[in-house]
Symmetry: C2
Subunit: 422 residues, 2 copies
């Protein structure tokens, strides 16, 4: 592939990602959580790179770092690219960061190639996409969509409220800057799963961001003496919980064998009294359910209730299910899926469509604009860990897809809009 | 039953047990842990009651409170009765305490009835039978048997070493007072299980104190993103652990269907990273195995290894088993079992033999003397909880069995000894 066909610079992308990777809590790679001084240091670095790319930099009311490149036709609205630069504790170098740097590289390449767009272009580093120190996530993108709950502002950690955190990042917690001018939002992200790597594909075009349903399971048995209570006279909450875990896994595996993405996981699990010589009396566990199709989540919840009733009555325990949260699946704009797939094909990259099991800022921006996402492969599907890894060339390829998409959409949407105006 | 047939006083027993129950951490019934000022308060009360019963009171080197009643024939040795007065945190009023008070009631009744024994009689409150603040148990009875590990003495909690704790209780941590003069040791204890209550029996004659084997299971899977990792590409440590828990329960239930007592319990269970959106990577759990027959524990451990290997290779996890501790089963003296069963029958009480799934001081005293135990029923099999309950009349009946056993053994063993001497 010659220079003209592959203008995005892998070297520049690698340099920026390495520079951010250096801004981590000492001895704890890679930790740069939102609302910490390190995160603001990362932001300063990004703002400097945004400026060098010729972007006008500001922080919006939601605390999002925005680099703006004016288009020839100011009335047409904005093409927006972005992701986030904050990490989870002990996280990786690429989750979110690859998307911000790829977006930046698109802006740099446009400037380098002397390409003017009709639309304004904005590169965004959304504030606090990961679950932050305040226990909530996607703070910046929720604000841009006008749905950041106001009661979150008074959350306080270590003497700092979320409102103060947003203000420290340069935002204005008192208001939302809801965007109605975004014509298109595109986000590049590492897959955080193993599919692209396993299928040796370079680009995943995201069909939907799966809905997340969380159901708390509480099991109440009886705390008897482990040594003296005969096996047939027990109400062991851990034994009942183990049956639940296996039934959840079997049911989820069956549902995942269809075409739509489905996964269910018991990730949190607490036992009482948790003593060597006492039969467990209580288990509390949390089921995380991801479904591309909302009806799958409902079907699973119904089957789960049946399973819980059966296990409860067979084991002499009481099992209750409490829905904790439910976020509906967010389909990505179907026209953008077409465009992104087509471009991947045109530039000769293996690609497929797939759902995102993880949440992303794009799920919130999709409320105010047509949104699309592309995934790039990551090693072993690992993320949220120091081992998280993506090849620089894969990020550059993804940036290339974004660049071509921006150019094509800028052109098509200028035309369409003109046509619509008449 | 007239006064002559039932001389032990239920009223006195109830009064003593209630008095001790009043000595608890405020608002936390019933908590009187060894090595606390409350425990020493309980000891003062007991010492006073011992003295009122005509016993000479001292604390031995092991920190055990001993009430002594001299026999007519000093060379014959000692008949010893006892149990312990310390509790677990949030424990009950009867575990150990019923045995100490029943023993005291035997001494009181003998004195009241003007009965002299040939042997010396000792009533003992063993120090720290329960797992104490120092993390170890049966400190007093181990010392009396000469097997309290010397390295325990330097264990330190809240600025106090175990050595200081023993000294504060009146003992001498520098030495053991190993007893070779005990002709017979008898302990009454609540069953801590449901069998006597379910079978409407008053007395259980203990056949053996089950061995306790503890095996740590470590399961290592892979921490992947719960939303993005397909169901068929996971190495979920919790799913593997759940299979282990169910196999352990099934295997133990099969083994418990034989005549000998067998139980296995997973009581401790820890998960990592224990986060809602991360597939569990590590589980550590502890299996508590109680076996009346040592070969059963070995058979179980072998089957467990096979199960672990199978589950590990099927689930892509690594499962390791680490034996943590192993205490062999301790059979109770068979002649004493005969005597106790016979007496229960003679005084017209329903009785059966059964193993103890829990550990007791008798297991250590059995190393230096013939030892026997009787169980009395407790409500719902509950113990180590505030709900622990035993009927005063059942304790008095048990005291009656001890009294008759002491009288018979004093007589028989004087004869036997005389015969042996010649």
């Amino acid at each position: 592939m010659n220079r003209r066909n592959f203008p995005a610079s892998a070297e520049r992308i690698a340099a920026d990602i390495n520079a951010l990777a250096g801004l981590t809590e000492p001895g704890r790679p890679y930790t740069r959580r939102a609302f910490t001084p390190l995160h603001l240091e990362g932001r300063s670095f990004l703002a400097e790179q945004f400026r060098k790319a010729g972007l006008a930099v500001h922080v919006d009311a939601g605390g999002n770092l925005v680099g703006r490149r004016a288009g020839n036709n100011p009335g047409l609205g904005t093409l927006m690219l972005g992701s986030h630069s904050d990490t989870v504790p002990d996280g990786g170098r690429f989750d979110g960061i690859a998307g911000v740097i790829a977006a930046l590289e698109v802006a740099r390449t446009l400037t380098e190639q002397g390409i003017d767009l009709e639309h304004d272009l904005e590169i965004v580093d959304f504030l606090a996409e990961e679950v932050s120190i305040f226990g909530v996530s996607c703070i910046g993108s929720r604000s841009m969509a006008g749905i950041r709950p106001s009661e979150w502002l008074s959350r306080e950690v270590d003497g700092q409220t979320l409102a103060q955190g947003i203000a420290n990042a340069g935002g204005d917690p008192e208001r939302h800057e809801i965007r109605s001018d975004i014509r298109v939002f595109l986000e590049l992200h590492i897959e955080q799963g193993p599919i692209l790597e396993a299928e040796r594909l370079s680009i995943g075009v995201v069909t939907a961001i799966a809905g997340i349903t969380r159901i708390e399971v509480k099991i109440e048995g009886r705390a008897d003496h482990a040594g003296t209570t005969p096996m047939d006279r027990r109400a062991d909450a851990l034994v009942a919980a183990s049956r639940m875990v296996l039934d959840i896994e079997a049911l989820a595996t069956t549902m995942a064998s269809g075409r739509a993405h489905f996964a269910a996981t018991v990730g949190e699990f607490f036992l009482l009294p948790n003593a060597a010589n006492v039969i467990p009396s209580h288990v509390r566990m949390l089921i995380d359910i991801r479904a591309e199709k909302p009806e799958d989540a409902k079907l699973f919840a119904r089957a789960l209730q049946k399973t819980a009733d059966e296990i409860g009555s067979a084991s002499g325990t009481t099992i209750s299910l409490n829905p904790i949260s439910e976020a509906a699946a967010v389909p990505m704009n179907s026209y953008l899926q077409e465009v992104l797939s087509d471009i991947a094909g045109v530039i000769g990259q293996g690609h497929r469509r797939l759902a995102s099991g993880a949440g992303h800022d794009a799920a919130f921006i999709a409320r105010v604009a047509p949104a699309g996402m592309i995934f790039i492969p990551c090693r072993d599907g690992r993320s949220h860990a120091a081992e998280e890894f993506a090849e620089t060339n894969d990020i550059a390829l993804g940036a290339m897809v974004l660049l071509e998409a921006v150019k094509r959409l800028d052109n098509e949407m200028s035309t369409t809009t003109d046509a619509e105006r008449h």
